[in-house]
């Protein structure tokens, strides 16, 4: 019998499923789940607590901090409607508020993958989808714009004079720039190898030539992350790095010819080191060639039999847990209620160790918010005073500021129609503690409607006590709430919208329109629609706002750029009082106007072919008999070699009288010619002569022919 001995097996080492049984370290583990690894010990990880729930959504597909606001931003997707929406939450994960809808994903897209980046007080959202035709426009969230906080990112990247939507596949901030990749221009969108760089400090401005080409054209950039002192553009099996710090020093060069990332969301940078998931598993780099860290996981071997199933690798994501110092890769599987994670402990940089984690729910994304505890909430609350200036659609909100207000608060004004949802009507800076203040409703309210109003103070990301929940303003402190009722809608008068004058010069056709606006005076709007012919000008539904005003003048000059020849543009104009549901068309819709002249109807007469007035060496004069032409109309002639030559149309002013001579020159000997005539008044022609392509269809009495004799 031998001596009794003791084998010490301290915990804290990581998984090692790759090393053979004869060589494996005794302190290694064959299975290690849901523990945080320290030096010499393993601690059970903590769980997670539901903080809030987004409404009308089936999946939360992206989370990101909004550091400028101290908020958490969530992107949701609903599988039934395929609507992708953006929400803002407090830095504590509570009080979600719908910022707006982004796009409706095509059915071929499935559940969208979203990439978010923050730059200079704005948050940018990119749809990570390979097909540019199905990819959504890149949007940005501008919290300073309380009316339209979500806007498309646009630029004139092909220099055609018009801005167009940008559809980046991914976005990332680097130094003072916003970098977006996977988009060429609106006329050549599918350029997956291009990475564009914004102007420094201005993430909304992209100049066409500020871009990088990362390798071959057909190979898409899948991820963009900072690493060390470079910015890496990772493809599927290679990566490139952008060096330098501004436009004059930026350069791109190959970084790793063998390894890239599977997806942008499978990467995370911690302490200047980029951890990413390649086709062979996890790797790390600080720029240049990357290092394999996947070996202990033995990903090619079988997993523990009862470990949660692993989902599609392209739908996975990486995140960093600061308090546990762990980088985790999560691979959720649809249809299950668990999530498999591979967690890499970074507590000892010289000895990175792995463990499995299993989340008890299926999670699709992660985001980290750093919230400051240095600030404090507003000490007082605004006191609601009765609203004033109430009309059928306007109101002035009044309140008195708290005497103990600090003075740097902003005031949020929320209102809800009846039992409807509260909407933020506006935000103003508190002017004086203890003093009265007001805010005028910027939009139009509904008539004969009772509105509930709620006010609150905001400092940074904090609100006055009791008013933290943006989802329930009706529960805010009672002194900060009140209500008012708008008056009944007025009976608007008929404006008698009419044309009073028309003039034209070399450049413009200007029409003066007028309308009646008796007391009380209402705001007005004029809308315009246009088409390529008088019969195809669309109705009010397609019209756009051309002009508007708060009260008089009661007249307005509508100028259009003058066109001298076809194709002319035809117009319809519409008028309404703001708040009125009735729309009035100019002159009750009796006229369709154009951009050539002031005519409002076709010429009523018709030019008739008369006789050959004279013939000579290479010319023939034809007498045209007039039938009631107007003085300002044009006489057009068309001539061709009979019977199938090309028509040549020329015109000259009508000479008042019974007839007019039209001379045709440059004619060929012994050749038959067809001729035809018509009147043009503005963009109109006499009846039956509208077809400019084939004058042989004009009225028969306007047509004739002759033979040009020989020498």
């Amino acid at each position: 019998m031998g001596e009794r001995q003791v084998a010490r097996l301290p915990f804290g080492s990581g998984l090692d499923r790759a090393t053979g049984v004869m060589a494996v370290e005794p302190t290694a583990f064959a299975d290690l789940r849901n523990v945080v690894l320290y030096n010499g010990k393993a601690q059970a990880r903590r769980g997670m607590l539901s903080k809030s729930t987004l409404s009308t959504t089936t999946d939360v597909i992206a989370l990101a901090p909004f550091r400028a606001q101290g908020k958490l931003i969530a992107v949701s997707w609903d599988s039934a409607t395929r609507q992708v929406a953006i929400h803002a939450l407090a830095g504590t994960g509570t009080a979600p508020v719908l910022v707006g809808n982004w796009f409706v994903a095509a059915t071929q897209v499935g559940r969208p993958v979203v990439i978010i980046a923050e730059s200079y007080g704005r948050l940018f959202f990119a749809h990570d989808f390979a097909d540019t035709g199905l990819r959504a426009t890149t949007y940005y969230y501008d919290p300073a714009d309380t009316v339209t906080p979500l806007k498309p990112l646009q630029a004139d990247l092909d220099r055609d004079g018009t801005t167009a939507d940008i559809k980046f596949r991914g976005v990332q901030t680097y130094l003072s720039y916003l970098i977006g990749w996977g988009f060429g221009t609106d006329s050549d969108a599918d350029r997956p190898e291009i990475a564009r760089v914004s102007m420094p400090g201005d993430p909304l401005t992209f100049v066409p030539e500020h871009l990088f080409y990362a390798g071959q054209r057909a190979s898409p950039i899948l991820a963009g992350w900072p690493a060390g002192n470079t910015f890496l553009l990772l493809k599927e099996t290679e990566s490139y790095e952008i060096t330098g710090y501004d436009r004059t020093t930026f350069a791109i060069r190959p970084a790793d010819p063998l390894y890239g990332a599977v997806a942008h969301r499978l990467c995370v940078t911690v302490g200047g080191i980029l951890y990413f998931w390649s086709l062979e598993g996890p790797r790390m780099t600080t720029g240049g060639r990357s290092t394999d860290i996947a070996v202990p996981l033995d990903l090619a071997g079988p997993s523990p039999s009862d470990l949660a199933a692993e989902g599609d690798v392209t739908l996975g994501f990486a995140y960093y847990l600061p308090f546990d110092r762990c980088v985790c890769w999560a691979f959720p599987t649809d249809g299950t209620n668990k999530t498999r994670e591979y967690c890499l402990s970074l507590r000892d940089e010289g000895d990175r160790r792995w463990s499995y984690w299993e989340r008890g729910v299926r999670i699709l994304c992660a985001g980290t918010v750093h919230t400051s505890t240095a600030g404090f909430a507003p000490p007082g609350a605004p006191t609601y005073n009765a609203a004033s200036g109430i009309t059928h659609n306007k109101v002035r909100y009044n309140w008195t500021n708290a005497a103990n207000a600090i003075g740097d608060e902003t005031v949020e004004i929320w209102a809800a129609a009846g039992a409807g949802t509260y909407v933020l009507r506006g935000t103003v800076t508190l002017n004086t503690p203890g003093a009265a203040q007001y805010f005028d409703e910027p939009l139009n309210l509904d008539p004969s409607t009772t509105y509930n109003v709620a006010l609150r103070y905001k400092r940074g990301s904090l609100y006055n006590a009791g008013a933290e929940n943006a989802g329930a303003p009706g529960s805010w402190p009672v002194g900060s709430r009140g209500s008012f009722t708008t008056t009944a809608a007025p009976v608007y008068p008929n404006p008698n919208f009419r044309l009073t004058a028309c003039s034209r010069d070399a450049s413009y056709v200007t029409r003066t329109v007028a309308w009646d606006n008796p007391a009380p005076i209402y705001g007005w709007e004029i809308f315009e629609s246009s088409g390529s012919s008088s019969s195809t000008v669309p109705d009010f539904g397609s019209a756009v706002l051309r002009a508007s005003g708060p009260d008089y003048p009661g007249t307005y000059n509508l100028s259009t750029v003058r066109q001298y020849a076809e194709p002319f543009t035809f117009y319809r104009w519409f008028f309404r009082f703001v708040g009125d549901v009735t729309v009035y068309e100019l002159d009750l819709g009796s006229t369709i106007l154009n951009n050539e002249g002031c005519e409002t109807s076709p010429p009523v007469g018709r030019p008739d072919y008369g006789l050959i007035a004279a013939q000579g060496e290479g010319y023939t004069d034809i007498q045209v008999n007039h039938n009631t032409p107007a003085a300002d109309e044009q006489l057009q002639s068309a001539i061709r070699e009979s019977p199938a030559g090309s028509w040549l149309i020329t015109e000259r002013p009508v000479i008042t009288g019974a007839s007019q001579i039209v001379s045709f020159g440059g004619l060929s000997y012994n050749t038959n010619y067809d001729v035809a005539f018509r009147y043009r008044g503005g963009a109109y022609y006499n009846a039956g002569a509208e077809n400019s392509a084939d004058p042989s269809t004009w009225p028969a009495l306007s047509q004739g022919g002759f033979t040009q004799p020989g020498p």
Partner: protein
């Protein structure tokens, strides 16, 4: 500054905050650690394994199951019930390893023996429901007695 990590739910609209509960959105999970296989006497030797000691530090009330496997066969499984503690407590718990000898005719236990074999593996696992507080696996000590050394290498000499 405090860092908060949030997760977004698939199949629902929940926003979860990491580290703020002992459960995952109300669902229980367990923590576990299974050591690699060790062969104290070498791959061709044998040992007797009388006991293992588990060192734990905790504050949460929880039950820990310790399972010893010799040559891949589960020989002993014991539960350690840890009561709630106000501050961290560290203790060593001994788990005796034994195999019952049963009289086949009378179907009664007549003796117990320590398991004998080559490979030892130990698994420590919590019951699924963790509670608020901490649970730290510090380490394991396995007692063994070599009864058969590994065979020496045979070297042929001319």
């Amino acid at each position: 500054m405090a860092a908060r990590v949030f997760f977004g739910q698939g199949g629902g609209g929940a926003i979860y905050a990491a580290g703020e509960s002992a459960l995952d959105g109300g669902n229980a999970f367990d923590a576990r650690a299974r050591t690699a296989r060790i062969a104290p006497a070498g791959a061709s030797g044998e040992c007797i394994f009388p006991a293992v000691w588990v060192v734990l530090t905790w504050t949460m009330p929880v039950t820990v199951r310790v399972t010893a496997l010799v040559d891949g066969v589960e020989v002993t499984s014991a539960e350690i019930v840890l009561p709630s503690q106000a501050t961290r407590v560290t203790e060593r718990r001994e788990i005796g390893l034994s195999i019952r000898l049963v009289d086949a005719h009378l179907n009664i236990e007549v003796a117990r023996f320590s398991p004998r074999g080559t490979w030892l593996q130990v698994e420590v696992k919590t019951t699924p429901v963790l509670a608020d507080g901490e649970l730290i696996f510090e380490g394991i000590e396995a007692e063994f007695e070599v009864v058969s050394e590994s065979a020496a290498a045979l070297v042929s000499t001319p």
